[in-house]
Symmetry: C2
Subunit: 213 residues, 2 copies
DNA sequence: AGCGTTATTGGTCGCTTGGCCAATGGCCTA
DNA sequence: TAGGCCATTGGCCAAGCGACCAATAACGCT
């Protein structure tokens, strides 16, 4: 028995897959709350009350943890963004409402974070492109349904999908603006762009979005 | 006389204002070429072949140098972006061509860089907002002229200005994508959005832009 | 020409980072 | 129950960072 108790960190040993998932979740949490560059061996270890070396054990190259954490966070968020049922119009409106919701702000910051960071770390750029593609698949599915039903008269569904995401990312770029000044031109940009890109009569989608806010 | 020549760094003393400007220019260059986070005392000192301490002498707080360097780079670039004469339509087309030109890519990266970094450093956010306002003033001047001349039928010139910049920033967000896939929906987004936001008949601006590319 | 101001140097300090490694001890299996 | 595998620890290292400071030398002034 020790002379002094110290902070007897009773060493707990977990199944590798479980520990790895735990580390990944923690890193994803840091990415969302504090940013990708704050994912450090020590930061993750501190949150888990574990030695820094353990993180290195599961992720010998720290960069890999960052990339995987981003992918994990993006995947989790996508499930929420697109979880909707109803007509294509309703699903699109729901998507826009959620993407602009205050609760999505952390995720918006993370996307911006990844877009910039891929300048220095090509691996993040690869993961980013992959996540973008997954998002496009989800939105394209909605758009195609709307084209089939006649709700979205666009002649080029894929182009509309691309443009809606450009609009989302454009507005999202201001997410870190302290005094992001409130102006209707900002607020309705994504909705109006979607209407325009899909060839819908003006006001229809805006009303569907307003009903769900 | 020294026993060995060593790298006899003959100490040159310059007028404070000149040295300060030199440091600022160098930092702005690093910001454009390598990113704002690469502006370090040592990196700037190396480029200028001076001691790191000298940079601290002129910028006791390194953060201030970063903020001022961003402002300097943005200001310099703005002069090029908006340097045009002719009809409002011609000036707008010229602006779009330049903003999407390959030579503006470094600046686009810098804006993205600053948007993300303002998450951690409020001072950058303040400088960013100020630069955005200056850009809006420039573009608004063109738009107002076009509204007066009847070329831009929009009822809300300011909203159009805001939306054009959202489009620019939206497309600019992909600047670090390694394999930014080429698609007409990307290429013409800013042009088409400007047409739409300004209430112009489709195709007019696109042609004006095409003529200048 | 001599002197004072201060631009400039070059080094140190404390801090944080990722990577590395020997030692420890928990859990599973034979 | 004994033994071995390996998850886990904790400390060390080198590199890079901003900040700080005493010493030095270039320049302007009288």
């Amino acid at each position: 028995m020790d002379a002094m108790m110290s902070t007897a960190a009773t060493r707990t040993r977990k199944r590798p897959e479980q520990r790895r998932a735990e580390i990944l979740d923690t890193a994803a949490g840091i990415a969302l709350e504090e940013g990708l560059e704050r994912i450090t061996l020590r930061a993750v270890a501190d949150r888990l009350n574990v030695a820094p070396g353990l993180i290195s054990h599961y992720f010998p190259v720290a960069d890999d943890l960052v990339v995987e954490a981003f992918a994990a966070a993006a995947t989790a968020e996508r499930a929420q963004l697109f979880a909707a049922s109803g007509t294509p119009m309703e699903r699109l409106a729901q998507f826009i409402v959620r993407v602009e919701d205050a609760r999505s702000r952390d995720m918006t910051r993370l996307w911006l974070n990844a877009r910039h960071l891929s300048r220095f770390r090509p691996a993040i750029g690869v993961a980013l492109a992959a996540q973008e593609e997954l998002d496009r698949v989800q939105l394209s599915e909605i758009i195609d349904a709307g084209v089939a039903s006649g709700d979205f008269p666009t002649a080029d569904p894929f182009a509309a999908c691309v443009r809606i995401f450009i609009a989302v990312d454009g507005v999202g770029g201001y997410v870190n603006d302290a005094a992001s000044f409130e102006h209707p031109a900002y607020e309705h940009f994504v909705t109006d762009t979607a209407e325009w890109a899909l060839g819908m009569p003006p006001g229809v989608l805006r009303q569907a979005v307003a009903e769900r806010r």
